[in-house]
């Protein structure tokens, strides 16, 4: 998985490319742990994300909890496979998906 990162003011955008799974989720977790300080708006762009497994959901949940206390988090451009996983797990009610 590739993570493309851009920061404008207090808004951090991470564009993910590839698969967010058991092998790659620790990479996103590390990236978020080291870059969320002072961020009030987090945008995750999933346009080039192929799929997500529960290991990725775990990272999204902990990140959503963190952003609930320091600002907002939005997910953009989810594909059909990712959206179905958000829906069956109820994550579509927890996350802000646009």
């Amino acid at each position: 998985m590739t993570i493309n990162k851009s920061m404008v003011g207090n808004e951090l955008t991470l564009a993910l490319e590839g698969r967010l799974d058991t092998v790659t989720s620790p990479q996103l977790d590390e990236e978020l742990k080291s870059s969320l300080d002072g961020v009030t708006s987090l945008i995750l762009d999933f346009e080039k994300l192929e799929y997500i497994s529960s290991a990725g959901l775990r990272v999204l949940l902990s990140t959503q909890k963190k952003m609930n206390s320091q600002g907002s988090m939005k997910i953009l451009n989810t594909n059909e496979v990712v959206m179905q996983i958000f829906e069956v797990t109820g994550f579509s009610d927890i996350l802000t998906i646009e």
Partner: protein, 135 residues
Amino acid sequence: MKELTVEATVANIDTVTDFINAELEAMDCPIKAQMQIDVAIDEIMSNIANYAYAPGTGSVTVRFEAEQEPRAAVISFIDSGTPYDPLAADDPDTTLSAEDRQIGGLGVFVVKKTMDEVGYEFKGYRNIFRIKKLI
């Protein structure tokens, strides 16, 4: 029928995924079904890698069968670790808020929701977890 036996490790999830994807591509599986199967492989393989032989290690055999009428991919994951039926656990509560959410059990739940059939049996001292996806 094709089989691949590898050490049950997280690092080998990609090896298994590549093996299955090659078979799915050979049967012209639509990309959406392929990605759903890839997610299922990640969930099942990560469970086997992390728990089946803990604290030791062992192998997993992945068997692929293509069915006709109706066309389907059937994949079995066979390990000889601790007997464990992933389907015996209750489904997670998917209506809780972010603060109250538990992540355990979500992987198997996703597999149940996205595959057309899932089955588990303990046979000959082996765990056999089987998924079927119509394509």
